[in-house]
Symmetry: C2
């Protein structure tokens, strides 16, 4: 008999019972790689920059040739060359000489620093006065300062940000190895459901979960596949789930508020594999079931949209991360509770909230709602959790808000 | 003569000098609306739910018929009907009667609550024993509890989350009015730049900013248009900028590390409209220029990729938000500095960092880098700011980290 599990136990179960899917790598062009998960470490194969580079407009020189100079007693160096942007210096700097260099230009061999134009004077006779002594390395990015061959630039599992894309461009990785998107099947069940574009008849409601879950999964980099609305008919549901399991990496069943559908879902999961979980000690989210067919997860989410969202956010996303070896740390915003919140039911509690800034503080405004009331969640900015043994939080208590 | 402005002054300038672009609305299907910006308030046109709905499997009844009942003395009611999921009850409940109702089923007229199955007993003779008194509203979502016609479900300016998509599905808004994506032109300038897929020759570096800025803009919902790399030739640059201004809602010039290119960019902006800003008191990011051609912003970003990223993140995104009337509050993660950070140069400072969790605390690990070193930023999780008048922060100081 499966017991109701705590959120921590469910996360451990996910880690223990599912393995990363092998061979997910595909190559995408750099412009399509943002938001994707890197599937291999990226190692630099060359020096960046590949030459010593000035960070100022000025004169490339040997620092030693300017030691002790000042406004009063400039060091006078011969102007050997003018270096142009984007070209190799192509010469070696002679002793007591300098070369004009633009910001980003290549230093000639022998130069070890650059002095800014404003600390120099062109005497017009082929010599330059230097009023400020250089120091080795001053205003210079040396060859390989950014990266040297063999350096790991980015690690496998990283979800690529815009900056990471910049780093890949810098090292010339224009074809990027990423995990292919996971295919996730979504099946809505319930005799009362109609598609959102249909006017509900008395007794009917619109199917919210397919749209909600598809949006969440897509945003998180998965490929959502809707199998439509299946009425309460066990053999029909069995057939649809079987097809979805064959076609997808994971399958979400949602809806089926009634006991009959939940029981049917359990039987179907058991016929296709193994039932692993029957209930989470979480409010909302208790009537959640989870199983596997081989390494393919089958999750029965609560029918209430808010509960379905919470469970998808807290457990389905980590499960997909596990399958794709994706690292997605969850950071939170510290906020002050704007009013007290009760909790007293032996389960951890998830509370949706709005965030506002007031007098330099960040306030979390809890949204009071029955868990079925999706429109009360419209406009929520995130949620905070109250531990199982906590009897509630007073006004002003600090909470960690996870953004939606 | 334009002065270097503080970050706050730049944000005020953006607000004062640019207006929302009128007529940006386009309609997209619900499945494509996540992440888009709502361009009109969404008002419900119907009741959700449209009928009184049970939240449990049990019996719909009149609470008054069960007052005072208990395990010892059940209230005995006649079973009038069985209500089926997805159908109208289609009858009125008689006094002293009850009707079986599944979770999510419609209550008959006259019923004001539902009692859970586990507190009842079916005597098998057409009567049901109720062991727990009902109370009006118990286990019921009344018609319109979720929304009533005329209620504003979501406000214009909101960037739609998965939950918002669920709310739109619930009220049947399957064609969603959103702001069209802004077209942003990106022009990279510099004789030293080659495309990322090309091997740099001595003196050359790969163009990082086009890929970096495109990824950032795309992630933020804009449409990035690259105009390629333009060499240091003022008339060629003038021609490209003029074309980009005609074709796009905003134009970013990036690169041009040298003084000559910056000066040329200023002249070009002035010839097309008005120069508004010449330098931001920010490290990195100082050599930033901004102007406008009519209501179209032209921004010259620093050539260093890290500086270009910081300026794009802190100023270009708010500027695009202003043009599209988009609300995108920036929330931060509170972290502890893992080591001291210096700052002593009369400018506000932006510091990239990694975030790690250690012993239940969140630590910010500052990344030490020259501003050109993009690969040191690869793997950064966010950044924190140090105020202009602050001389640095000690180890352990709390910092607000904005996620990348």
């Amino acid at each position: 008999m499966l017991q109701v599990k705590t959120p921590e136990e469910v996360l451990r179960l996910i880690h223990d019972k599912f393995q990363p899917i092998p061979g997910l790598t595909e190559f995408v062009p750099l412009e399509a790689a943002a938001g994707r998960t890197l599937s291999e470490d990226i190692t630099a194969e060359e020096y960046v920059p590949d030459f010593n580079r000035s960070t100022v407009d000025g004169y490339a020189l040997r620092a030693a040739d300017t030691f002790g100079c000042s406004d009063a007693i400039p060091a006078v160096l011969s102007l050997q060359e003018e270096i142009r942007m984007g070209e190799d210096a192509g010469f070696a700097l002679l002793r007591e000489n300098c070369a004009y260099v633009p910001t980003g230009g290549a230093l000639p061999e022998g130069a070890d620093c650059a002095v800014m134009l404003e600390y120099t004077e062109d005497y017009g006779d082929g010599t330059i006065g230097i009023m400020k002594p250089g120091a080795p390395g001053m205003n210079v990015i040396f060859r390989g300062d950014d990266v040297c061959p063999g350096k790991i630039v980015l690690r496998a599992g990283r979800v690529l940000t815009a900056q990471d894309i910049g780093a890949l461009a810098a090292v010339g990785k224009t074809l990027v190895p990423v995990q292919r998107r996971l295919n996730v099947g979504i099946i809505s069940t319930g005799d009362e459901l109609v598609p959102p574009d249909q006017q509900p008849l008395p007794g009917q409601v619109r199917d919210v979960n397919t749209a909600l879950l598809s949006a969440l999964l897509t945003e998180q980099g998965a490929e959502a596949h809707s199998y439509g609305i299946v009425v309460d008919d066990e053999s029909l549901l069995h057939e649809t789930v079987t097809r979805a399991v064959q076609e997808c990496d994971a399958v979400l069943l949602s809806g089926g508020s009634s006991v009959g559908v939940k029981d049917a879902s359990c039987r179907i999961i058991e016929s296709l594999g193994e039932l692993l979980l029957h209930g989470i000690a979480l409010k909302p989210g208790k009537p959640t079931i989870m199983g596997r067919a081989g390494n393919r997860p089958l999750i029965g989410l609560p029918g209430h949209p808010v509960a379905a969202f919470v469970v998808a956010r807290l457990f389905v996303l980590p499960l997909l991360d596990r399958l794709a070896e994706r690292e997605r740390p969850l950071w939170s915003v510290t906020a002050e509770l704007s009013e007290s919140v009760g909790a007293n039911h032996g389960r951890a509690q998830v509370n949706a909230c709005r965030l506002i800034r007031q007098d330099g503080r960040v306030l979390a405004l809890p949204i009071r709602s029955k868990s079925g009331l999706i429109t009360q969640l419209a406009g929520a900015d995130g949620f905070f959790c109250i531990e199982r043994d906590c009897e509630g939080l007073p006004k002003g208590a600090p909470v960690q808000v996870y953004l939606n």
